[in-house]
Symmetry: C2
Subunit: 354 residues, 2 copies
């Protein structure tokens, strides 16, 4: 119970109260050098009780100044109001906290200038390492940090050969392709995302590649990358639906928000979702299952991906060598692609990834 009125007790006060030297108290309370040089059992116990009684808590600021380690991790994400990143951050923050690290987070909005600005600011605050959730496929910026030997781990998006914790996006795209194909769709489209984000790029590539293998190639003009929000999905889908020639019968949106936008556009065009046009999303956000028309989506373990990112960074801060982790996705089939529940033989719930 710290009180702001009178400042918290210092190590010196504890030492005085226990009638020992401050250094002895330090060694006893935080036996860094495995207690070899600590005090006798009796003295140690006395120091500990005094510390407890006084409510002593080591001042982290002084510790940092002395040791040079801030025990802080900077996290940079495109937007925290993106549920996917927020969830990953929750997992990451929780893991970091249990390992004694505190995290603090900034939104780069996928803007290179803001990204650099936050990075330099964090560096000047002497953070121990970084977790980037906003990496681009072009690793130039990250390579620069590596050259300055700044510890970095990526989350959600991969880039170059930097260590990352991600879902298997290519596989996720393939799962959707297999599902669409099984439902008999031969004329498909991909909406949303950005070419420089590995998530959407890999999801799209996996989808297109598998579709081609299955004999139904997706022409380039059927891949419309407009962004990650609902609005992006709406405009892309609207474009597809009024394109010359046959409109697609199935749309793969690279995340649930673009999927929701796409569903809106489908409905606005007077088509029925699921029946006329199938729509699938990605990430299986909590909303997907609860939408007025439940959305088929690829589930990736977002919190787990976040936790792993924190673990990877902390281990690499300890000098261990670490390598990227990739998490397997699952396809969750729902009415937006399969209104009558035919594909999964009457089931509308989990379909395991192979």
């Amino acid at each position: 119970m710290l009180d702001r009125e009178k400042p918290p007790p210092t190590l010196a006060e504890v030492a005085r109260a226990a009638q020992v030297h401050i250094s002895t108290a330090s060694r006893v309370l935080h036996a860094a050098d495995d207690g070899r040089r600590a005090a006798s059992a009796a003295t140690a116990e006395r120091i500990r009780t005094v510390a407890r009684d006084l409510g002593y808590q080591r001042d982290p600021t002084a510790l940092r100044l002395r040791t040079g380690h801030s025990q802080e991790i900077a996290v940079i994400v495109p937007r925290l109001s993106d549920l996917v990143l927020a969830t990953m951050y929750e997992g990451l923050q929780q893991r970091a906290a249990t390992e004694g690290y505190t995290t603090y987070v900034s939104n780069s909005q996928d803007d290179q200038q803001l990204r650099e600005q936050f990075t330099e600011a964090a560096l000047s605050r002497r953070v121990d390492g970084f977790i980037f959730g906003d990496a681009t496929l072009d690793p130039t910026f990250l390579d620069g940090l590596r050259r300055r030997s700044v510890p970095v781990v990526l989350v959600n998006r991969r880039s170059g050969d930097h260590v990352s914790s991600t879902g298997d996006d290519r596989r996720g795209g393939q799962l959707v392709a297999e599902h669409f194909s099984a439902l008999g769709h031969t004329d498909c489209a991909v909406v949303g995302g950005r070419p420089w984000a590995s998530t959407s790029a890999d999801r799209g590539a996996g989808f297109v590649e598998r579709m081609a293998q299955l004999g139904h190639p997706v022409p380039p003009e059927r891949v419309i990358q407009t962004g990650f929000d609902a609005e992006a999905g709406a405009t892309a889908a609207a474009t597809l639906l009024r394109s010359p020639g046959r409109a697609p019968t199935a749309i793969f949106a690279v995340n649930d928000f673009t999927a929701i936008g796409a569903m809106g556009a489908v409905r606005a065009a007077g088509r029925e979702i699921g029946r006329d046009v199938a729509v699938a999303g990605y990430n299986d956000t909590p909303l997907a299952a609860l939408l007025p028309l439940p959305l088929t989506s690829v589930r990736s373990p977002m919190a787990e991906i976040g936790r792993e990112a924190a673990t990877l960074l902390i281990r690499s801060l300890r000098g261990e060598s670490v390598q990227s982790r990739v998490f397997a996705p699952e396809l969750m089939v729902r009415e937006s692609t399969d209104p009558s529940g035919t594909a999964a033989a009457g089931r509308t719930d989990v379909v395991e990834a192979p």
Copy 2:
């Protein structure tokens, strides 16, 4: 450009290079005492150029140790994956950053034990102040912090007489009541929220109170408080729709996520949203307008509310006296309550709050 290989230059190195005493350099570079005791113009300029050339950046850790101010703000929210809180946090973090404060955030999940745990942890890290986004109407916990003279500001939810930055939730509920009443609904219900959260309590109270004034009282069993997520909205709405007697013709969900859940339940019950049952939400999240069936919702300036919370706390840290801010809401009418656009005379967009 800091490099992790060789440690960044210290003030002492700058002073040596500029041939002045370290204290002179300190005063010149960070004129705390309004420059009265600083150096001559020539010396000052010399020190500044040397500092720039060496890439000097003041070590925040040493600063904190010396001054006792951490320049840090702890933020505690129920869940960062809740878009509303995430958006407020974005605004708050941004404002804090421009004022030279860094923020760090934890999820309490509305659990009192976690809340206390995070608070004590932050206190032991010597944060300068707190912003709580998870306050309960019962101010006991916050009163305790005040007694220990810990600077606190609330965001989103109010509590007791603690300083807060919130939307005018009561007024928002009234707006929805007026809208429903104008559409001819006499039989309404409220779903979602928790009795101990001022947001949902005030929204519900404002709605019920105005509805009664307008001659259509809402019976207590028509107010079902189940939580804040989509699932909560779905179960509450399902209960209402299969209740004995007449089912309500209009549902006010205390936020957009519960509204989405409620819409799902309405559809699952075979009723048409907007025509058979009107549904309104709260917060006007970006999704609301882009749903397959656009959702009527009360807009509150979330980012602005967050920014103001940061401003209030920082000003109170500076010793200024501050008071709570309440932001006016606007009703955004869309198809989920008004499918043909009659109410707003053909318009489906903004209706200003009076």
